[in-house]
């Protein structure tokens, strides 16, 4: 659980062809609002997070509030896992 951000970062670089020359993928790099991930591709990320951390998303949780950057993703995953 300590490597959530690193795991997600690796996944995004691999799946969404994020490149360092765009700028470093930091904790606060916007993902959904910048278009790196769009609402369709977000489902891939959802599936990855659900499988990796064994929790379920609600439909309305597929949202910028929870997925727009690595820090938000980590906080969301933590909250979901701890609520289990």
């Amino acid at each position: 659980m300590t490597n959530i951000k690193e795991d997600v970062k690796a996944y995004i670089i691999e799946e969404f062809a994020y490149e360092a020359d765009v700028g470093p993928l930091t904790d606060s790099t916007p993902l959904l609002s910048s278009g790196i991930i769009d609402s369709i591709s977000a489902l891939q990320l959802v599936e990855f997070l659900e499988n990796k951390y064994s929790f379920s998303f609600q439909a309305h949780e597929v949202d910028q509030d929870n997925l727009d950057n690595l820090a938000l993703i980590e906080a969301f995953v933590m909250s979901k896992v701890s609520a289990k």
Binding site: G35, S39, I40, A59, H60
Partner: protein, 839 residues
């Protein structure tokens, strides 16, 4: 502290920020000039709205974030009155606030939704004209535009716990200034709207807003040019290339939507709402899912959030089946929501098979594409080095997608499946040469694509991609040049020295196809219910802000002894195109006359179409009445003391109808038959000529049947195909018409005169040649040709039409026509000789 307690910043802060805003403000003024000079979206009052916006933008820079929100909302409320008047403005404001209160009531979300639905139902009654308020239509349209989708999103978010905004931000979310005139508006996401609001508007956001506004206006101009110059008339289409052009331009016309969305979101950015892009290079989509991602991004996000995710997450097994069902349901909803939107705009809820095929077909393709991507676990790849193979694949995908969407779009925008199939039929058969040329064209496109890919790669690699500032400067330069070109002395000089008409660029005009339809009596065909299949007419009607009722809908046109002989009913009075139209006891739009010609009277029978009938002008304003009055007040004509001009003109009359009408007119014992002909009369008449081929009254026209057989017409062919085959025989058809009328006239000792009348549309060199040819044919057949085409010379055509989008001559144009005809009566020696020779 930058802000004072009143919300107005201190002078130093204002000066610092205004200095930074100055270039943007200059850019906004440039946009205002461009909207003015190009009359962009004039029918929707864009210029007036933009004036309000400019003032608002200036003032908003003086205010702090929260005060600005209050100000923008107040500006919006004021704009309602400025745009729609006191009554409608008040209605929109009050009902809008009522809806806002409903979605914010301290009750459960479902109860709010129910109340909103019921209130929407009452509003819909207004849209349908069931409420006793004259302004109910416009009020319901605007309220529909403001609330139809954002209220759904709002309630969805509130249902899931969102409440993180001030009441002023919430008010601004619903009352978006450009949405007042653009009913089709991007579905702005609530959370994004609230999250991206900048109390201190950053220079980047201001620059982005300006860029989007300029780009949006550029798209609107592109739309105008593509619609006017590039959209071929399906009725005049005769080759596969024109069919391809028609399909590609049909799809390309979506650029108008992109223009409206860019302009609208750009304006919102300047108020501090740092919204994301609405479109993303949709013509470069490489697949169906990619297109769904790129085209109307806000709509896609709205559909995903409110419908797709909730449906998809209901599946316990999120596999291909779940994706397929979810996508198909979303596209079904998509279809319904488009009809719902249509209702708030037009007041109808059309359910058509074409829409069903389009939406469900599109859904099927997106679903298949999505499943394919899941199955193949296809990842996005970004290539470090340029690869011809990768560029080729992308290029072919883009060409394929654009081609497919063009075909699909042309289908969706066709009035019926039959019409679309007729269009396809025109392209067939495709010869080997045509096929080779098409292949050559595709190869050329491919090469352009590869070159484009390399340029893009090179710019990426060398970090030379134009940044936002450079793009703004490029658009600004374009608009400065464009505006200067439109300023009166410059535009006059350009038009004179280059012999071009900038009119269709300067203002929205009907293209040749739609303009022709206006005179074709399309509406009048409602009389018989036949031949309604005309591509694009529905779109044209939609854009006609005046919404005049067609003559045929008044029920005052009757069919006579055969299908090609029509008349107006006697003794009727209607208001047609806002003008009084009455008929006499014989059933023509004219004064009362005796059937027998009075002694010492010159009787002239006028044959013509809607312009001569006087569509859009009152009874006494028609040129023939003015000429008749003037001649009678000045001693008559030739050897006669009195003159009678009997007006047999009727909307929608084509050459075969005029032959019938000539026979009818001659029974009134005129000495002169005056046949008014317009440019492109032949093309307009083709639809009527092809009817003869399959008509029960075909025996009346043996020569036309012979020409049709020579042209290769077959009864089972579509109307468009028949027109295409008959078009090369236009000369023969005109000759037949002229000779037939001359024969009728000579048998009755009537002098045939052909009057070549002016039109308000632009004429190209080809048309001018055709005009000369028609005149020669009539001359050879025995007509005296009187050319009155110079009647409108020196006048701005836009001041001579009955309305924007309706090129029938107005009262002033009729007066000019009358003046010119009177000049001809007085100075044309051939005409004087002819008149003096009448018995």
């Amino acid at each position: 502290m930058l802000e004072s307690s009143s919300g107005i910043r201190n002078a130093q802060a204002i000066w610092a920020e205004q200095k930074a805003r100055l270039p943007v403000f200059v850019g906004v003024l440039l946009c205002l000039s461009a909207i003015y000079f190009f009359q962009l979206e004039e029918d929707l009052q864009l210029f007036r709205l933009f004036l309000i916006f400019v003032a608002g933008f200036f003032v908003s820079g003086l205010l702090d974030g929260e005060t600005r929100l209050k100000f923008i909302w107040a500006l919006n409320a004021g704009a309602m009155f400025a745009l729609f008047g006191v009554t409608a403005g008040l209605g929109i404001l009050v009902i809008g606030l009522l809806f806002f209160l409903i979605v914010n009531l301290p009750i459960g979300v479902w109860w709010r939704a129910l109340l909103a639905l019921l209130s929407g139902g009452v509003l819909a009654m207004g849209k349908l004209g069931y409420l006793p308020f004259a302004e109910a239509g416009i009020v319901s349209t605007v309220i529909g535009g403001l609330f139809m989708f954002r209220s759904i999103l709002y309630l969805y978010e509130v249902h899931h716990g969102w409440q993180n905004a001030s009441v002023w931000l919430k008010l601004n979310y619903f009352f978006l200034l450009p949405n007042l005139i653009f009913v089709i508006f991007p579905v702005v996401d609530l959370k994004t709207f609230a999250r991206t609001y900048q109390p201190e508007v950053s220079p980047e956001t201001l620059e982005k807003g300006l860029l989007w506004m300029m780009r949006g206006m550029f798209h609107l101009l592109l739309y105008r040019i593509a619609y006017y110059y590039l959209m071929p008339d399906p009725a005049a289409t005769s080759s596969v290339f024109q069919v391809i052009q028609y399909m590609a331009v049909s799809y390309a016309l979506i650029v108008r939507l992109s223009g409206i969305f860019h302009l609208s979101t750009g304006m919102l950015c300047l108020f501090g709402f740092n919204l994301p892009p609405t479109f993303d290079n949709y013509f470069l989509a490489t697949g169906f899912s990619d297109l769904w991602r790129r085209i109307n991004v806000y709509w896609k996000d709205f559909m995903m959030k409110v419908f797709y995710f909730p449906i998809y997450f209901r599946f316990t097994k999120r596999n291909s089946v779940a994706v397929f069902i979810s996508v198909m349901l979303v596209f079904l909803i998509n279809w319904g929501l488009h009809q719902y939107q249509w209702f708030w705009i037009k007041g109808t809820f059309p359910v058509t098979i074409i829409d069903a095929i389009f939406w469900l077909g599109f859904g099927l393709l997106v679903a298949a594409n999505s499943i394919y991507q899941i199955k193949t676990k296809k990842k996005r790849k970004k290539v470090k080095e340029f690869s011809l193979r990768a560029a080729s694949v992308t290029c072919l995908q883009v060409i394929g997608m654009f081609t497919f969407m063009s075909v699909l779009w042309s289908f969706w925008t066709s009035p019926s499946i039959a019409t679309w199939l007729e269009l396809i039929e025109l392209a067939l058969p495709i010869s080997a040469v045509q096929l080779a040329l098409i292949a050559g064209g595709l190869v050329a496109l491919y090469c352009i694509g590869i070159a484009g890919s390399y340029v893009s790669y090179y710019l990426d690699k060398t970090n030379k991609n134009p940044d936002q500032s450079l793009k703004v400067k490029a658009y600004a330069l374009f608009w400065v040049v464009a505006v200067v070109l439109m300023v009166n002395p410059v535009s006059k000089w350009v038009e004179t020295s280059l012999a071009i008409d900038l009119g269709p660029v300067r203002e929205a005009r009907l293209n040749a196809a739609d303009a022709a339809r206006q005179f074709q009596g399309y509406y009048e065909t409602l009389l018989t219910g036949k031949d309604l299949a005309t591509v694009g007419v529905a779109k044209n009607e939609d854009e006609n802000s005046r919404e005049w009722k067609p003559l045929g809908s008044f029920g005052i046109i009757k069919q006579n002894e055969n299908e090609f002989s029509r008349s107006l009913l006697p003794d009727v009075e209607i208001i047609f195109k806002d003008a009084r139209l009455t008929t006499n006891s014989f059933g023509f739009r004219d004064r009362e006359y005796n059937f027998e010609r009075p002694p010492n009277t010159m009787r002239i029978a006028l044959l013509g179409g809607s312009s001569e009938m006087g569509a859009g002008v009152s009874d006494e304003e028609t040129f023939e009445n003015i000429v008749e009055d003037t001649l009678n007040q000045t001693g008559g004509l030739a050897n006669s003391e009195k003159v009678e001009i009997l007006n047999f003109a009727l909307s929608g009359m084509k050459m075969p109808n005029q032959v019938m009408k000539a026979a009818e007119a001659i029974t009134y014992n005129p000495q002169v038959l005056l046949y008014a002909i317009h440019t492109e009369e032949t093309g307009r008449g083709l639809k009527e000529f092809i009817k003869i081929f399959t008509s029960e009254d075909a025996s009346l026209f043996p020569e036309i049947n012979e020409i049709s057989r020579l042209a290769g017409l077959q009864p089972e062919m579509s109307a468009l195909k028949k027109q295409s085959l008959l078009r090369p025989y236009a000369r023969e058809l005109v000759t037949w018409t002229a000779r037939r009328i001359v024969k009728l006239a000579r048998e009755a000792n009537v002098k045939p005169v052909m009057m070549f009348t002016p039109v308000l549309e632009l004429k190209n060199a080809k048309k001018l040649v055709e005009d000369e040819e028609i005149k020669n044919i009539f001359r050879k057949a025995g007509f005296l040709v009187v050319d009155v085409q110079t009647a409108y010379d020196g006048y701005d055509a836009t001041n001579l039409r009955v309305a924007k989008g309706d090129n029938h001559p107005n009262a002033q144009a009729h007066r000019l026509m009358a003046d010119e005809l009177l000049r001809q009566f007085r100075n044309n020696t051939e005409l004087i000789r002819l008149l003096e020779a009448v018995e």
